[in-house]
Symmetry: C2
Subunit: 558 residues, 2 copies
Amino acid sequence: MAFKTDIEIAREATKRPIQEIGGKLGIPSEDLLPYGHDKAKLSQSFIDGVQGRRNGKLILVTAINPTPAGEGKTTTTVGLGDGLNRIGKNAAICIREASLGPCFGMKGGAAGGGYAQVVPMEEMNLHFTGDFHAITSAHNLLSAMIDNHIYWGNALEIDQRRVVWRRVLDMNDRALRDMVTSLGGVANGFPRQTGFDITVASEVMAILCLATGLDDLQKRLGDIIVAYTRDRKPIYARDIKADGAMTVLLKDAMQPNLVQTLENNPAFVHGGPFANIAHGCNSVIATTTALKLADYVVTEAGFGADLGAEKFMNIKCRKAGIAPDAVVIVATVRAMKMNGGVAKADLGAENVAAVEAGCANLGRHIGNVKSFGVPVVVAINHFAGDTEAEVQAVQSYVATQGSEAVLCKHWAEGSAGTEALARKVVDIIDEGGADFAPIYPDDMPLFEKIETIATAIYHADGVVADARIRDQLTAWEEAGYGHLPVCMAKTQYSFTTDPGARGAPTGFTIPVREVRLSAGAGFIVAICGEIMTMPGLPRVPSAEAIMLNEAGDIEGLF
Amino acid sequence: MAFKTDIEIAREATKRPIQEIGGKLGIPSEDLLPYGHDKAKLSQSFIDGVQGRRNGKLILVTAINPTPAGEGKTTTTVGLGDGLNRIGKNAAICIREASLGPCFGMKGGAAGGGYAQVVPMEEMNLHFTGDFHAITSAHNLLSAMIDNHIYWGNALEIDQRRVVWRRVLDMNDRALRDMVTSLGGVANGFPRQTGFDITVASEVMAILCLATGLDDLQKRLGDIIVAYTRDRKPIYARDIKADGAMTVLLKDAMQPNLVQTLENNPAFVHGGPFANIAHGCNSVIATTTALKLADYVVTEAGFGADLGAEKFMNIKCRKAGIAPDAVVIVATVRAMKMNGGVAKADLGAENVAAVEAGCANLGRHIGNVKSFGVPVVVAINHFAGDTEAEVQAVQSYVATQGSEAVLCKHWAEGSAGTEALARKVVDIIDEGGADFAPIYPDDMPLFEKIETIATAIYHADGVVADARIRDQLTAWEEAGYGHLPVCMAKTQYSFTTDPGARGAPTGFTIPVREVRLSAGAGFIVAICGEIMTMPGLPRVPSAEAIMLNEAGDIEGLF
């Protein structure tokens, strides 16, 4: 049986004019700024005008710890949105934009897959509406202005060894991780060691995704700490006078993008911060605007529920004043098998015992999400090789956890495959059982916030950190940053800091290696183990196979 | 008397929907891919469909050597386009896109000025339709793939000391000119010295602006020489397998952008290569497409006529198979005075003698342009302080050169101020005197081509170059590159290589310091003196004053 590729399915889509998609949500044509015939940005005046409306219901799609088997979180988000529309609900989805860098490395598609995709997928995986380019420009303008300030006399007395603001490119380029710049003599400035991160790791990205409007955006940009003086006084972007021009560069990027699913339902695609050193959710402005326009809004968060859902709840919902009405945890039979100890090569064979063993990972996520006061449904994203007994094993296990697991076939069938999930989600929302609260209060000391996440969500025995790190946290508390939430940077593959420790491990501690203050975004990053802020390309980059075919269509994005 | 700023005038413009502007040129709505309500790209299928049509008349706007007094070449291009429409002609203009980098440094406006502007000027000076971002991405993808190739085993045996492909950003950032990358150990690759240029200096920019279509684009991208082996064998972008993905990244950027003048006349704004290490003209595809749609097409070339017009004729026209029907040389009374030895601070006082002395610069440009077989009109771009006697002095001088100088007041009056110029241009085109030919044939040896430009255009006594440079040129001839035109990289302020030598100097030679092969763009660059491929920011960057005002409008772009 020959499956169609995602790009082939996407190319066959019958797209409706974007004005018609906007019409489903009551957006007038003049408030849709078109980018081609199938993409548009919402005008700021329209966004301002709907703020008084009542909110729709918010559904978060999250997942078990990711495995190489693939879980299909975005695919399920798209499928559930289409499923809700299929059963007659007015629903929209909110997902993240794709990063160009990875697209030319290992993977394309951040637009769903199979018959649960957002289109135009090629453009979503390339320049889209230019938001990431705008973030790259704004970030690097600040970088240039810092070095320029030092060059022209350094009136702010920046310690050149303590410039913490790097540069960014939306590219996987390991050569740029670590460099010495300003070589070549007096005219080129003062040499110093620095480097580039990938654009999605920029604090500007996190800021854009948390800002509630252009005023808030400019304030947060001004709050960015770019360097320190010799006596460790922070220098802000505002001191460099970059915040105004950065806001101008980001003016259009702040407007949410509207596209459509293969089934012509509305999809907001906006922002895409890294889920490790940032919070990994689409923009607050897209989510809060969608909640004013649709009765049901389906959104997702990066990585597994231990990172993505935790940050969605403790950072995004807290800061935006929103609350999820239900959470869908995506699991697959294959991933359960891998969590149960099966190697990727052996996933083809039925193995009910391994599925049952791997369910412990799912179970812990279910409990964790419920601890935020939100009802949970499990979506089993069906793969062709899954056996009935394996599916049954997951469903039985989930029942023992007080939830229900619904089999979904949206990849192959579109919304027909998520009708049952959509009905179940509507039912539990109608039951009104949600009573959301973040799991730690604003006024808890920073180190205790880290401990709370580590013990309550990861189920670690505790947190290990040098005195240097505890002192830094105390210093930030004294400087007025103690109320900030904590953004954990940890491997997504495990509850622990060991990527190989699958399932539901116990008897471990979480070592905090470093803490960073993202004063503009408004969180403290706790780095636990290696994190990568500039990926490299693989031995054979997917870019080698990306090209235009004879018909002028793009090949090789998948 | 309080003048309005350019941005104030632009903001008051009554823009027509871009579909209506396209309609003036017979472009159907469905072939205009909108970017907001006031910008659009032409569909590739429409471009393909009009190729069989007859060409309109082509008018090049060029200038004397630029001075700090300002000449207003783009402003005059816009003004002439509007003037031609005013007298009932079907005319379009073709200009270059603006670079973001300079916009945050010294200047904004690359969209004309006063009442001769293209709108939306704010967006033209910011991200516009994302073309430059696409060029940045395509360029840097190739860079990343080169270092990645070396990292994974270097099967092509690239000599790491001979990687000639740098990286680019659309930013003025002197710190990035010269650097050592890949520090930090094995995982980050092999340290090597390299740097960033500004995006407009990328060979990808030159290629995009010379390519006749997507196939030609991919071929040229593949032809880029990125490095050499230890025994000096060239390694091409094609060898790195980057050409397909680069073409995909540039697919939309290849489509010309349509906007409008303040008077709602069509303006194509597409591409913007540096006028020193590249050829400094808008894209071939925009110009050739405009010629199929309008009876008169007004375009411009970077810097003064010695660089801009020479490259327009010898490179762009030669390669695109087009020919100008008339050339307008822009001069100002103030610039004539500066060429006549007056300092900028003293420009306010009437000084007819200085004007007359400075006219020698204008006279040489008139003769040069005529040597290409094209009739010349001089446009005197009027400034408020110019006296009648000064204007008369320029007009009398130009008459002695066998041309006519027309006073133009488009900055203050729009098309009313260029009606006389438009009529004069139409008259000389109707006379049919143009018999265009490049000033050197393809098969002339490369060094002789440099000598021809230096003696015939600059009026130098000769060219000085080391044996090393002559040997390099001979080697390229033997490698099959001898048929390429030469792209001169020289100061724009003088016919000589000394920026201070104004007027019409004689008794000098042109030293060629370095030659470079742009095999993808298809020219040899001859570098004569210092050229800057990555500008820096000034002591007080204009970015410090760029911001959104209370009404949400952009302030500080000018």
